[in-house]
Symmetry: D2
Subunit: 305 residues, 4 copies
């Protein structure tokens, strides 16, 4: 167990100089204002031991990492019926492209691109009177941190700039693949993206996937063992935008990234992890974070393959 | 070890009724004439034990499974330089689409779509005087079967109908991403696709990937351990045409399929396997074979995730 | 002049049997309920003589024909500055496609596809406090019919089903190419499409283009002679959805069609015309109307070429 | 008639300074070596009077202007049956794009993009033992210049670099829309593009379209009056690559351009014309040539509209 602390130390030493390289997301002031050269990483093994380095306890905007939690929650609501409304294939295009949506008649390629996450959110809007609270509570249970919440200013900024997501939502509605009013879905979606968490909480929150679908901190079954494996497969093939193939190749574990600079991942049967550094590669994934993950699986010799 | 034999028996019993459902590839008479209701499967553990059922010893045309071997051989020749000429991302489009090639200026998305395999073959044409013999000998070494060969009639039929592949080759040549004469590359490519093997030989031939890059039958290192992992990641994200996400989700192990109806796969550290049944789903993957693989990872509880 | 009346008689006799072939637009009840087998045509020469046949005085929903009037009105407001926000090229894709909009960063191909007309409407929303009234008054002046108006029920039905247009509007807004609130633009756009006119009024309303930009009924200059020619060129290359090439080939005069089944056109220096029959070809143009126009230019030997 | 000479003088004075702006086509040395600042223009009225200015008698490579002649010749062979193999719509994409060809299953959008011209050439290959000679002789008759020919060195250079055209040809062959061996079609196509003519000969060669389909120099009927109009419509909507809408808007007469820097056009009932200046706009049309044509229709007040 001490091994992971040593590995994190080495990774921080190697990777810290990269923190700040790339571009911090600029589309809302709340993200643009984040100091670019921050770097944190946390590993939580299934016995609850936490290994952390750098700014692992600085909260940040989880952004698209929320798509993993909203997918899991929606999946607990409707199960495999979800796959009639969203695919499970990598998109081969940018996360916010409308092209494939047109060719494929309003069925998004997977739940981790924006269009797919909007369908997932639509499911939550149908199921919950208050879909934003429902997700926050779900993530609180997964992470064991009952105080975390979304950042209302971030949510509002997202709402004000969500033209492209609104375009997608209306577009899918034109194909009958959105059931709730567009404004409601976009509102919930923006609040989900605005959840603030730190690396340790996020590493804890994904650990249920490493633990066969059971929340290791409470013993609560979240999804079946088979479903946990399948959600993990989806992370591997689709979790890091149009760089998923490259991530699988270089890192080799299931990951989900966000434009806030966070990336969560896990090793089945062993651990959940999260790395954070705000400056992004052109693909939208944290530059230093990607390198840190590659170093982690190389140094530990642990990956799926 | 006896466990796998029992599992295969059960899978054959369950899956045999599906053999014949779907469509046998029709574009050349040699494939169209294959009896549709055949089914075979083989598992070879790293100690060399063979478990097999059904028509596991009936040779068939490996078709796109050859892309895995040609990629490996090309990778041993030029290493990571290969990735300057071909990507590592799922394509999100049909295996023989030219659209993405145009958008992305002649760089195929990955080495398992036709365009990518043509670039890989171009590498082999540059390196070997006789690229078709080179690959056959490589596959002989991997499988331990010194008699296997390509089927000249199949190769000739492929050549006569290779208009779309020629289109891709000329197209990539127009972008400078093909160095040898198109006719030479197409000729080698068609011969590679025409290699005939059975399930047992194929399961043995992929075992080096499960064995950290070392041929388990000879001890010869084929690729580094890290490279073996990375090629496996590529199989998982890109190995089964535009159904790779679905395969990862349902099956959860690295696979490579061919329109001859074969699918190879492996579980790192444990085994290589191959299933064969000629009738295909719309995605180009064997219908019964896909089901058999899903049953295999479910019944054994073994997958990457 | 009597010649045109004879020609119209012959066309009605030949074409009436085709009225009803094709599909009446179904997306709102007000259009779906129109009797399919109606047919009317009107020719108005620049001296004011009206030739008409069939249901030439039955008002119908002008739909996309309004795009010609809104373009002209916007052009009188901002002139060539309009072309910084919308192109002048045929789209090569469906009238409501978002694909090209994504590739070309929010700049619609031309003002006659929906996306382009939304930009045009946005210009009118900026310029006029009440953009729907402004257009109605403009069309009243052009046609000389002070009583025409839009149909509020049609406008409301359009509004309720305008998901795809809303998608486009938000999409263009995400690229900065829409300046007013999406709801305002869509509202004005739907009212414009809902204007009701008959063939005679429409033939009169387009006559200013045949008359070098001057309203022949009032002597008012609407646009410069050069602009009249240019707007006519745009009608010829882009006015009939993705069948503009075919229309130019078969008919050979500038036309603009709508899914209400109307098609307006003109012959420079001579006449304005309008044909109407509600059932549409797959391209969205009136089937009987297209045939009638082809017969008209053939029988009169008049076309641009 | 003297009027046109005066107009040409004024155009030359205004436009000559633009000659050389833009980029001379670089893909073969024979084109790249042409002096960029040349400019010539010729107008031939239907009575045979020639008005010319600048380098109107310097021969140049007609390149894609040949597509107009090969289309006409193929049309005389198979008539409207041609339209089963090639469309009549503007493409909305680059002249050498394969994307639409894939979406539309091997049917090119129109005969003036490369793919469409290859189908046209395929028709000529089926009809004539020696398709390159057939076209040269046809153009000799149209222009009245019995000595013109193709430039063998240009044809050979084209052949050596025709990868993209070969890609298209194989691609269409894969859809069954090419009947002759790809090598034969490409060979004929490259020779057609390599025909050398000057502005005066080209202005004379297109005059049959202005003359209702009858060669004004011999009285020979080339195509029916209706067909002449229709081919002219096709020039207007598709003749100048992806700038046809802009050309119709700015120039307003049927034109066909080539990357050698030539552009032919005509005014029905009056004249044929040709302008030449080798440096091109990004669209592939001669920059100075486009301006000269716009000035011509403005100064003479003559256009279709």
């Amino acid at each position: 167990m001490g091994g992971y602390s040593t590995v994190l130390e080495q990774i921080e030493e190697e990777t810290r100089p990269l923190a700040g390289r790339g571009e911090v997301a600029q589309y809302i002031p709340e993200l643009a204002g984040v100091r670019a050269d921050q770097f944190g990483m946390a590993v939580v093994t299934l016995d609850g031991t936490v290994h952390a380095c750098g700014e692992a306890r600085v909260p940040f905007s989880i952004q698209s990492i929320s798509k993993l939690f909203s997918l899991t929650l929606a999946f607990t609501c409707v199960g495999d019926a979800l796959w009639q409304r969203v695919g499970r294939e990598p998109s081969g295009t940018a996360f916010n492209s409308l092209v494939q949506l047109e060719t494929e008649k309003g069925i998004p390629r997977n739940p981790f691109i924006n269009a797919g996450a909007l369908v997932v959110t639509d499911v939550l809007c149908t199921r919950f009177v208050n879909p934003e609270t429902a997700l926050v509570e779900f993530v609180r249970r997964l992470s064991g941190n009952a105080t975390l919440d979304y950042d209302l200013r971030v949510a509002r900024s997202e709402l004000d700039t969500a033209f492209r997501n609104r375009a997608m939502a209306h577009f899918m509605r034109s194909f009958g693949n959105l059931h709730n009013p567009v404004d409601d879905v976009i509102d919930a979606y923006c609040r989900h993206c605005a959840i603030r968490m730190d690396c340790v909480d996020l590493a804890r929150a994904v650990a249920f996937l490493a633990n066969g679908g059971v929340n290791p901190w409470t013993g609560e079954r979240i999804v079946s063992e088979s479903s946990a494996k399948r959600l993990s497969a989806l992370m591997l093939t689709c979790g890091t935008y149009d760089a998923a193939g490259d991530f699988a190749y270089r890192v080799g574990i299931p990951c989900k990234s966000g434009v806030g600079g966070g990336i969560v991942g896990h090793i089945p049967g062993e651990l959940g992890l999260c790395v954070w550094s705000p400056a992004l590669e052109a693909t939208g994934n944290s530059l230093a974070g990607s390198v840190a993950l590659e170093r982690f699986t190389t140094l530990t010799g642990r990956s799926l393959f």
